[in-house]
């Protein structure tokens, strides 16, 4: 079932995420980001496209402080990430969910423990029954209640991503970052994940950045798309606009 997109963005909305002139290099010669700038408005689904190595994942890792940018600013909720101390950064991180490419589930913990672990850390007032209820609720929303006592090694790729998504959602984030959410999945599962991304956005009113190579996912989930080339934004627009772009390189993504 394809869910309708019902979030129309007023133009005067201030960006909730704003990246300006971001530079990141590895070693002397490997310059990945060369002045990357883009913004995301509240409630918007921004899809980031680009060839492998164009710096898409690096950009969102800088956004949550997993990497330090060499230069440039990243403002999230009006705060410059680079200027925050550990406590300030953790406060921002609690408002951001990050879905890793392979789910990044904790191998030594069951699905239940994977989900309850961050919740018990940050909601110490909850008793074990309330934590368990929250875990079951969130697993229901991603359609995986039957896997609650399974270990990550017993889950398929799609299930791992769903559990990973549930783990990020359990802290009720306002922003969700998806790092290639459909990579390595079959067409049907990819479509299910894309539908899940949309349904989550509508249910939890989240703002999302979705990094993907999957054009079906981009079409299904995007409000706006930016395409990265050589460490900067090369093209920006809606899916339909970019699909009909005059630029042959931009159009090559949509073939």
């Amino acid at each position: 079932m394809k869910l309708p997109k019902n979030h129309i963005l007023p133009d005067n909305d201030a960006p909730i995420i704003e990246i300006k002139n971001l530079y990141k290099s590895f070693g002397k010669d490997n310059h990945v980001l060369k002045g990357l700038s883009f913004f995301v408005k509240k409630g918007e689904n921004l899809v980031v496209l680009g060839k492998s190595g164009s710096g898409k994942s690096i950009a969102i890792k800088c956004l949550v402080g997993l990497m330090q940018a060499d230069n440039g600013t990243i403002n999230v909720f009006g705060k410059d990430i680079a200027k925050l101390d550990e406590t300030g950064l953790n406060e921002i991180r609690l408002r951001i969910g990050f879905l890793f490419q392979n789910g990044a589930l904790y191998d030594s913990m069951s699905v239940r423990e994977n989900l309850s672990f961050p919740l018990m850390r940050h909601s110490s007032s909850l008793n074990p029954i309330e934590v368990d209820k929250a875990v079951i609720d969130i697993l229901t929303s991603v359609g995986l209640t039957e896997a609650i006592d399974k270990m990550p090694s017993e889950l398929s790729g799609g299930m791992k991503k769903r559990v990973g998504l549930a783990r990020t959602l359990i802290l009720k984030p306002e922003i969700l970052l998806y790092d290639e959410p459909t990579t390595g999945l079959d067409t049907i599962t990819s479509r299910e994940i894309s539908e899940l991304i949309l349904s989550i956005q509508q249910k939890y009113k989240t703002t999302s950045i979705i990094i993907t190579h999957d054009m079906a996912c981009a079409k299904q989930t995007s409000d706006r798309i930016v395409i990265l080339k050589d460490g900067i934004v090369n093209a920006e627009g809606t899916y339909d606009a970019l699909e009909n772009s005059h630029d042959e390189w931009v159009r090559s993504f949509f073939i």
Partner: protein, 252 residues
């Protein structure tokens, strides 16, 4: 050669920074009690069978190898005391630490390396959970506490092995054997030897965590982390042992 030396000094510098961070994080509030107890169980309890077997063999073999030499001098009755002294002062601490370097340090290196490669450590960090405190501090503390306990256990089992070895060619009962053992032991035989095992435990935990936590991306680095953790931890155990013997010699 210059590049090789540079990488050694860089690694040493990073290890010092890692150690400094450990001491900084240890005093910060929110102690990970549950994870610490779990690691004590994994490092301590799960190593007991291995330490017991090696401890028993150490005592047995040491007794059997020393008997002919002592017999030549008619000093066979010194055998229980000599074996106990050798075990407690040197052999049990070093051999147990080396076995734990192989089992514990490589295990921690591989576990954390794998977590790093599969982005589990990153996932912890973006959930505003301090992975250093949760994964590193607990493991280093557990190793620091458990290795001395394992060494004391190896001492006891080694003395038991010595008793079995002694009775292959003689007939001494347990009470007499133990009396001979404890007659030859003094406070200074036990105290310095036990103190150094805390340093052994600390370095086993530290090196395993350092190698795993700083593993680069890629599955190959997991194997490298485990392997280099064993090599470096073993080397550091010998260095600590040498220093401990020198210091003991100065003060006792």
């Amino acid at each position: 050669m210059v590049i090789y030396l540079k990488s050694i000094f860089t690694d040493a510098g990073n290890l010092i920074l890692f150690t400094t961070r450990f001491f900084r994080e240890i005093v910060k509030p929110l102690f990970e009690t549950h994870e610490f107890i779990k690691q004590c169980y994994v490092i301590g309890y799960k190593s007991l069978p291995l330490v017991a077997v090696t401890g028993f063999i150490m005592g047995l073999v040491l007794t059997l190898q020393s008997r002919p030499t002592l017999s030549k001098f008619g000093a066979e009755s010194w055998l229980p005391g000599m074996v106990a002294l050798s075990l407690i002062r040197e052999i049990a601490p070093v051999i147990t630490a080396l076995i734990c370097a192989g089992k514990v340090s490589s295990g921690i290196g591989a576990e954390l390396g794998s977590m790093k490669v599969t982005e589990q450590i990153d996932a912890m960090e973006v959930s505003a959970i301090n992975p250093f405190k949760y994964l590193v501090v607990t493991r280093i503390l557990a190793a620091t506490l458990m290795i001395p306990i394992l060494v004391v256990f190896a001492d006891a089992i080694g003395i038991l092995g010595g008793y079995v070895g002694f009775n292959i060619h003689s007939d001494v009962n347990m009470v007499r054997y133990n009396a001979q053992v404890f007659e030859s032991l003094d406070f200074i035989d036990i105290f310095p030897a036990t103190i150094k095992t805390f340093f052994f435990g600390f370095s086993i935990g530290l090196i395993g965590c350092y190698k795993g936590f700083t593993a680069s991306n890629g599955t190959e680095s997991v194997g490298k982390a485990a392997n280099s953790a064993v090599v470096l931890a073993s080397l550091i155990i010998f260095i600590i042992d040498m220093l401990a013997v020198q210091i003991t010699d100065l003060f006792f």
